[in-house]
Amino acid sequence: MLTLQVNGAAHQVDVPDDMPLLWVLRDVLGLPGTKFGCGIGECGACTVHVDGKAVRACSLPASLVGDRPVTTIEGLAEDEVATEVTKAWLDIDVVQCGYCQPGQIMAAIALLKSNLHPSDDEIDQAMSGNICRCGTYRRIRAAIRNVAGAV
């Protein structure tokens, strides 16, 4: 039995040791906002925060999370940077199909929390692990710049 701290609450789960955090979130805890895209850490659709850092939930066994806090797209309500990021996303209509966007947003928040005024190169570096098949990259970059200007 594992105890996970997810979005500010403790959850006891009975899952195999090698089970990635992604499937605990989606299939056990019923938090489907974090998406499955590739299962090998190539696409970033499953990006969540562990201890504030962006990680690929599809490749991180839940048993290795320990008592570090996990934050998913569903757990952002009170966060100031997150509020600005989602607002910036809506202001310029970043999303298309939207499937990768929770991962994109989690990656962007993690970037902005460590570096509120990233350069274009720094944005590219932080965000290029997240694939968007709809090709919303230009708007994602613009939204991140707008947050940097707003906060």
């Binding site: 998913t72 989602t86 939207g98 694939i131 990259y137």
Partner: protein
Amino acid sequence: MPVGTIAISRRRALLGAGGLLMAAIVPLERSRAATRIVEDQTGPFAPNAFVRIAPDGSITLILPNVEMGQGIYTGEAMLIAEELDVGLDQIQIEAAPPDDAYVTKALGTEATGGSTSTIATWTSLREAGAVARTLLVGAAANRWVVDPASCQTEAGVVRHVPTGRTLTYGELAVEAAALPVPTSPVALRDPSTFRLIGHAQHRLDGPAKVNGTATFGIDIQQPDMKFGTVAACPVMGGVLLHVDDSATRKIPGVRDVLTIGNAVCVVGDHFWATRKGLEALAITWDEGVNSTVSTETVYRGLHEALQGPAIVAHTKGDAKGAIAGAATRVEAVYQQPLLAHAPMEPINCTVHVTAERCDIWVGTQVPMRARDAAAEVTGLPKDKVFLHNQYIGGGFGRRLEHEYVTQAVQFARQVAYPLKIVWSREEDLALDRYRPAYVDHLVGGLDAHGKLVGLSHRIVGPAVVARWAPEALLPNGVDDDLLVATVETPYAIPAMFLDYARREAPGVVTAWWRGVGGTRGVFVIESFIDELAASAKVDPVEFRRRMTGDHPRARAVLDLAAEKAEWGSKLPEGVGRGVALQYVFGSYLATVMEVEVSQMGTVRVRRAVVAVDCGRVVNPDQVVSQIEGGLIFGLSAALFNEITLEKGRVQEKNFNSYRILRMNESPAIEVHLVDSTEDPGGIGETGTAAAAAAAANAMAAATGRRYRRLPLTGAQA
């Protein structure tokens, strides 16, 4: 109004049968700003298949096309709301269920594809809104005993102008429902008075998609639902001989192992258990006749068909004679690969089959076909199959197929519980239905002034339409999708001969892929036009300009793109500028791309400038968004993508071997819209169609070599 009546009675029947179900699947309240997605809304006022208004004031718009990123929920809601006279903040929206009322005539079924949605609904959805508004005004006028002409509407309210009295649409719903639906056309707004159409509106699906509450097919949760994942025979056409599941059944969390003719499904408490369970299976396949197919087999068959018989698909004048008498003859062969769709949301489908009914939760571009397939598998009547269409995490043509729905129902009918099947990314790539590989041979003749006098063109490849909609194959055996961008061009070509040698790809099923005939055709034609210009020693923009003849809209976008891209200005060493001009999906595009090719052959797209005339625009910023994204989608394929086969098996397993363009590789993109009062053209696939040709032409400008094979690599001679 038979159409409306059918839709309403079906909905009422569903409500009666499924009241409990509804409670489980209506999503939680969204944040205040978010538009609610609802299902099976009834309302006494339902004048047609697209509008429902209830006495409590709730206004539901039922949208005939599914949202897969292209912004169609917003665009179609704008069309109805414009004429109904309601704000986008006053509505809730519903995905159309399978129903004859929502058939797209151009596609022959209820379908979202081919960039047809806005073209098909531009008038019909505005009329649906106008009819509803007319009836609501009539109801108000009756209540007040006044002339309807003395009433106005605004934001869901009818006002009697002389007295200032008002009634809301909700208050009028019952009385409006009692009025006869007008049989003659109702007047539509003059475009100069549009409040919504032509003015950028935020996407209705935006809030749910940034806060994580948007429900995609893969996110469906049902009481007592179990999870499944599938291994199908990796060789197309193969069947299951034997499966040893003894190790699988010992894995904690595994509940069941199900089989059908060509696949095995492991069922468990979560995806991880099913994945581990699948890996532990010992499966023996009969791989069948395709077990020796390789990429070389595919290409060899196509190239061989460049010689020999073919069907004459189009002739104009005496092209062969013109070429024979030409001052210069130009010739080229182009090759394009098999491509996967690889949408971000892997294939999935949730099904619950009982003795009485079958419920399907899935994102599909073809809800009626999916429903009909489920009826056939279960033996239930079609009206006992309930398909709940969900947000699609990327379609691109993949969800114009419904074989994964058939498969899911075949498994789910074996169990009592709701079963959510999710394919792994590996399964998604290996069992896709692929954009076909093609080979095209073109011969052109230039006169002494460098003018094109004749064009001869052979296309070799599969006829996707022959499988997807056999009745649409032309009587002469030609798939008319192949004539897009090749016969219908933005040019005046004095003489043309086009023939088609149909060769079905061995070992794979081929399918529609974003841009369809436009994507394959624009690459070939626009590459060849560039080769002709080079041979004529005329600037590529000028060469095209001279050929635009009776296509002034083509000339206008070409000039605009050239101007905005500073065509002709100096570029650094190793950088080239290429242009592509197209008329596909009823829209004109000119694309100028700047591409850098390093000494090592590394290709980097630096900048893309696109000028667009797509007629009257519904939601301008979403047109820009589709061009931006469509270009990126097309560039991923043009630069990186090719599905290859070895021993009948697809070799590309995941995003590490099927590379997708990333943010750091994406160009700056500028999109310029031309003001137009023409009827709308399609837009969702145009950017994709432009990408490969513009990139290949830019690479040629950078290196002086031609690039005739996709994917483009800098090293190609």
